[in-house]
Amino acid sequence: MSRADGERILLWTLPVVGVVWLSAFLLFPGFVQPMSPTMSAEEVAAFYRDPENLPRIRASMILFNWFAVGLIPILALIVLQIRRMAHRTPIFSYSLLACAAGGPTIFLMANLFWLLAAFRPTRDPQLTLMFNDLAWVTFSTQVGFLIAQSVILALAIYLDRQQRPVFGRWVAHFNLVVAALLVPAAFAGTAMTGPIAWDGLLTFWVRNIAIGVWIVVMAVVLARAISRQRADEAVAA
């Protein structure tokens, strides 16, 4: 069993994690029709108290609680590819490693707030509203680590000056586009309606689809880089 075999095993955990995430996303009744920030405290409390919704909220958030960190092994594999790039210092691989824990930790904070709101739905509706706000604002606005991740990766690729770079330059361009698509979501707190609101086109749909596409594209280019590395090592051996 070579090192690359172990890396392929880590890589193949991604489709599993992806299926779980997608199922949890569809299961949570507040995502498919994203909850509006304009809902009153009574409406938000009724959403959590609804006997149809409550088990789905809990089950989906427990799934996210289990699998939110599932992306970290994939980020670790990207860190290893950055280390193969023609750089003078490990600054880019260190930077990406520092980002790797950030995104999942933020998502876990949002997850805790959702689960807290669902734990005692009979609480004062003002409290349920506050936990719901904390969950949605954390989930929507905290795009900083994801933006940094893409920008760092793009810089690392642009500065990978060797005959056969680890990733093609288009991967860097792609990462910059993804980073730009995540920016509007940071402003979710400023609007209760419209595309910037947390249920809006830019903040909810564009951002979440951009994250999904990033995961799929990076998984494919990563798989190709790893298999090429494996072929190179086999020749060298």
């Binding site: 520092a98 980002c99 506050m130 606005t141 905290q142 940071a186 402003f187 400023t190």
Partner: protein
């Protein structure tokens, strides 16, 4: 700024800033380090602007405000909090590059890699209590001005106590850096900088009473818990940015002692 291998490279372009940047991007061997250093400089300036001017959350308000006064406090800075912390969310991830650059200083020392790795992980964690939680909580406080003032008061405490009262990451982080500087034989930083790290660590000790007092010098807005600490932090940051710049100028990409700057 650059001292790349002389002679073999085209001369550094003079002229516009853009042309200079382009030259460094193409030819400067130390470009990764300069990217890290400039990220630090730009970020700390932006951090000051965002916290002191745009959100007006620093210097901190009194912990002893009544719930009605706290609701008014949020109302007074409604747009500042919402837009300011939106920008904090966008640039917050830059801390990863900053911490990586500081960790690199420890990697260049003669000490174990464990110092660089500990510092990197501790400060990656520090970004959350250091600003992101405060951003989320202040945004939630600002977004619904009609929220029950009793809950506004809880959000206010959560924001300022997570920000001022999360001490361990900065305490242990500074001590790791201190130990690395004192043990280092590569002369990456002067030894006195090790002791300055100790000063920064001690500010995290004296801030602990902010969890207990709502008034006086030890409260989160007090002379000791805030003013002295901010003074030390600004000095510390200015000093390490200067020393880090010297490190980059002296860097020879070797593993032995760093050469001194000629002149």
């Amino acid at each position: 700024m650059s001292d790349s291998a002389a002679g073999t490279l085209p001369e550094e372009r003079s002229g516009s800033l853009l042309r200079k940047v382009a030259w460094h991007w193409r030819y400067d061997e130390k470009r990764e380090l300069w990217i890290g250093w400039w990220t630090l400089v730009v970020f700390y300036n932006l951090y000051g602007l965002l916290f002191f001017v745009i959100t007006r959350t620093q210097p901190p308000p009194q912990p002893s405000l009544s719930p009605a006064e706290i609701a008014q406090w949020f109302a007074d800075r409604h747009h500042g909090l919402l837009y300011g912390y939106a920008i904090v969310s966008i640039v917050g991830g830059a801390t990863a590059v900053m911490n990586a650059t500081l960790a690199y200083s420890m990697r260049r020392m003669s000490v174990s890699r464990a110092f660089a790795y500990s510092y990197l992980v501790i400060y990656a964690l520090a970004t959350l209590p250091g600003m992101l939680i405060m951003g989320v909580v202040c945004s939630v406080g600002a977004m619904r001005p009609d929220r029950d003032p009793a809950l506004m008061s809880w959000l206010y405490d959560f924001a300022f106590l997570s920000f001022e009262g999360t001490m361990g990451v900065f305490l242990i982080g500074s001590l790791v850096w201190m130990a690395a500087v004192l043990l280092d034989e590569n002369r990456v930083f002067p030894k006195w900088f090790g002791y300055l790290n100790l000063c920064n660590a001690l500010t995290e000790v004296v801030v602990a009473p902010a969890w207990i007092f709502q008034d006086g010098v030890f409260a989160w807005d007090g002379e000791i818990a805030w003013w002295i600490n901010m003074g030390v932090f600004v000095t510390y940051t200015t000093v390490f940015l200067t020393l880090l710049r010297r490190l980059i100028l002296r860097e020879d990409f070797g593993t032995g002692p760093l050469p001194e700057l000629s002149q």
